[in-house]
Amino acid sequence: MIRLSWFRRFFKDSKGISTAIGTVLLVLAMFVISSNVFLFTISQNTLYSQAARESHQTDADRFNEKIIASDGNYSVWGNTVKVEATLTNVGAVAAQIINLWVFDTTLQKYGFNDTIVSLNLNLNPGQILYLREAEAITVSIPGAGSADNFNAWFVTARGNTVPVEKTEEVIISQVAQGIGLMALDFMTFRYFLYNGSSKLANYPAGVRSYNVPRTPEIAFGITLTNYDPLKRTIQLNQYAQVWVYFPKSPGTQLLWHIVNVQSDGTITTPYSPISLAYRQTRLLIFASAVPGSFSKVSIPAAVKNLPCALNLLLLGTVGSDDYGQNIPFVALFVYEN
């Protein structure tokens, strides 16, 4: 009853109703506009905060990226500097190597190789990448020489630079002075079977073992590095050879002479001298029974299931001087298939 009378009174005396409606509309309009502005500001702030968070994460990833480039080794061939190194990811995030810079401190020249992006040099945390031999990275520096001193650094995709730490120079020089200028890498010793009359099977990987079959014929692959303290280039002539003798079978001596091999494993003749610049590491193939040419080496049945000693006889020139070195140490066991 009371409500009904209030309602009637309201409609009978409508003075001020327009003010009320106007105020309500104005307040509503202001509320809508200010809410819009407020919500928009909030959304923009959210976007900015998101970008700031991403930015901080990017920086954190960069700080957590830690790559070590050790066992650095430089060798020069023409205008090309070959850099060997071992990359270890000791950080907490995966990393990608995109560039290698080399600075020739002797010449005061520099070069880089940014095509290594295509090599996909990616390292997960804890992963180790060996950039040796065929995997070594080359950088062109016109006029660079094997006796020059180099500095190198890798660049990661996050913009970090990783200096290449060189192998301990003093120890190597002392070893080179003591036993000769060339060093043999035991871990990469391998033998090859043939895939045809003059083509090595599975080249350059071969078979990494110190147990070798008597038949069929085999060839040897040995990785050598030039550590001449005077930083000269060593050139090997056709008399460089692998010499094998059997203590249990005196008088049986077998020779495998050095040969030239194409990238597909094909042996080419006649032999042309192979050079190793200072600190250059190279896989050399010993396959021929005769020097300077090629014929397969057969192992006689008399030495089956016998151990033997392998010596590496290296002959040629170092710089303008004569060079000769005998590297022993490898032992083999010849088994019968």
């Binding site: 327009s18 106007g22 928009f40 976007l47 995109i98 810079w101 940014d114 660049v155």
Partner: protein
Amino acid sequence: MYIGRTHMLVRRISKTIFNNKKAESYVISAVILAGVSIALGFAVLAWAQSRSSDYESELSETMRDETAKLRERLAVEYVVYNNVTREIKIYLLNWGTIDDVEIQTIHIRRDTWNLPISTFTLKSLNCTQEILDLDVGEEGCIVIPSIDLVGGYYYVRVVTVRGAVFDSTFVV
């Protein structure tokens, strides 16, 4: 019957209104007042809407610029000064997450000496082809010609068009 009644009602009302001059002026003034109020209300609403829209677009633009600036990252791979050609080469990498990073100014600084430079060219990494900006993952080379530096330790500051700043050092 019904139409006749309605017709009579309309005639009576119009007679009352048009015969009563006082009532007529009330109605007209009420209509004018209401019209002005509504028009004014809409004008204020439109103005407020446009102000808020301007504010939103300004804020949006500022936020976009700031966000883009936040996403910019440049790393200096190598800086070299050639005292024969008297030029500095700065090798840069865009490792951020945004394309089109343009360089505005380079500052070369040593102790209190500071040289802002804006006359330089941004080129591809091998310093041959001129480029406008650096996209994500792209490397470039900035060549600063005709500059005389004495031996020492220098700071280099790269300022982008978006306002981000990146520092590095080099030795002459």
